[in-house]
Symmetry: C2
Subunit: 328 residues, 2 copies
């Protein structure tokens, strides 16, 4: 029997979680990853060496690696003194492979071989561009790191676009074409998920695909992007870019988030995502389960892998996705 | 049947060749590697980050890696501009693993897992020290990179010692204790091979070992270290450090070195090693074969993996060593 084909779309920690859960199963995994990372060490390397940003790709590579814990340590390492101060080893690694390989695709091929990844990481584009958010007050924010800032009382985002037109990576379109199941999220809607849908050809293929289309609902809202949004508002945002009925399944956590964690997020003006979605069971199904991770992680600040203390559990998510992949 | 145990002692390109040939066979490999590398990027990192030099260890890791060609490219990569100018990626990699691991042994364990190495790399010491050469005119040269310089008409080396006393890595002593076959060379006598024998405990174990003790004779002499030495002079140098009859077997190339290559070396004042050794067949055997590599490599200057254009062939060497390992 041919392995079933699952495609995960995103970037950041949420995609890391999904991929690291899925990789232990005998399935074919493709990860379409945003390339609009603009801040920190990636940005510096981009200036000095003209290489593409690798922040999100780096995380996806590590997630799919056989020795993920070791590579994670290595890739997260940031020099604190000397010639390399402020640089992150993971981005440096990708920059070197890119310089050796001659282009980002060859760099990726090398990195995937070196990291023994299970599955393919597919950057959504190889062109250099930034995302741009038009706010409801008309202001325009350019660049992933600016849009990602938690600014209190900032006007909500109205539309996401690209600063400069960019070509989609044809492998990303092919991956969608061949998918049995497409997974979106969890992740920040405007900085991790939607940047992948700024390409007409890819959106077209997504719409016409008969694959299962699964949204993994976020656990917590994100200040500045989806403040106090209910699940219905998430779906309507995606509809704006992906058309009516963008998902066949929505995976929703039923596990109880602790008081302590809620309070922690409250300090950042962030609240739990409430399921206020009324659905037509013929077009979309809710899949409910306790998906919370038992382990609580300390948030590491000032690092691109900054981590929520409320997280999905990789194995619980993977089991649900496998059931969807092989179910009717 | 338990795998036979082969231990290779050295550092540099010669050891790289031996290890990369041996790694395809189902044998247990240990590589005892000099840690006295003092020049270039290793030296800079040593100053800035207090880490141990990794030049020779780095080469041995790559030699034993499953994906050796890719890792070699990566590890040899040297930044030519920007914040990292002059630094070599391989040393940087080891420096980061050392900082993360907390010590060099843990860094090695990590690196071996990440590189999927076949066999163990065993640094001869973890102490920071340099080699010191006392010349026949009484002058003292300190540091591997100084001793390694090709200075015309320099007084010959009389004795090699350590600048500061250092403790041997107990794993190196154990490796010798458990070896079925110990391979020394090919390589620069004073900068790659003998630095490993600056430790009484290790020399003691070597002398008393009943393993086969194999010298792979160098193809070419090295200016400033072994100018116009015949094979007999090599053996007498080793006898000075390892006692009488230091080897049970000496592997000697019979392949003809091209006129072109001879002329190339002549420019550097370097000549072929001539077999002028008369032996007592009861104590040592000559093993003769064409061991030359067919491919001729261009020398890369200004890099620690500077390469001779006359080289041993990894597979031919490995076959000879396997016959010795499993023969009577």
């Amino acid at each position: 029997m041919k392995n079933k084909n699952i495609v995960v779309i995103g970037g950041g920690t949420g995609t890391y979680t999904v991929l690291s859960g899925l990789k232990t199963y005998p399935i074919t995994i493709g990860a379409i990853i945003t390339m609009m990372d603009s801040g920190g060490s990636s940005g510096k390397l981009r200036d000095q060496y003209g290489v593409l940003p690798g922040g999100d790709v780096r995380q996806a590579l590590v997630a799919l690696s056989e020795s993920d814990l070791l590579w994670r340590k290595l890739f997260l390492y940031r020099f604190t003194n000397g010639d390399f101060k402020g640089h992150n080893f993971g981005n440096l690694f990708l920059a070197v492979t890119e310089t050796i390989g001659g282009n980002f695709q060859k760099a990726l091929d090398m990195a995937q071989q070196l990291l023994h990844t299970k599955g393919k990481v597919i950057p959504v584009t190889f062109d250099k561009t930034n995302i741009q958010a038009v706010l409801e007050d008309g202001k325009i924010l350019t660049g992933e790191s600016i849009i990602d800032e938690r600014v209190p009382n900032r006007s909500p985002i109205n539309t996401l676009t690209l600063e400069k037109p960019a070509k989609v990576n044809p492998h990303a379109v092919d991956a969608i074409k061949n998918a049995d199941c497409i997974v979106i999220g969890p992740g920040d809607v405007y900085t991790s998920l939607l940047p992948n849908f700024m390409f007409n050809e890819l959106v077209h293929e997504y719409k016409k695909s008969s694959a299962k289309k699964v949204l993994i609902a976020n656990l917590m809202n994100k200040a500045g992007q989806t403040d106090e949004f209910g699940l219905s508002r998430y779906v309507s945002i995606f509809s704006k870019y992906l058309g009516d009925n963008p998902f066949t399944h929505i995976v929703i956590n039923t596990g109880k988030i602790s008081e302590e964690a809620r309070n922690y997020y409250m300090e950042y003006g962030e609240h739990e995502v409430i399921d206020d979605l009324t659905i037509d069971e013929h077009t979309v199904k809710k899949v409910k389960a306790n998906l919370l991770s038992d382990s609580v992680f300390v948030q590491i600040k000032g690092d691109s892998l900054e981590r929520s203390i409320v997280r999905h559990d990789p194995d619980k998510l993977a089991k649900i996705l496998l059931e969807l992949l092989y179910g009717n």
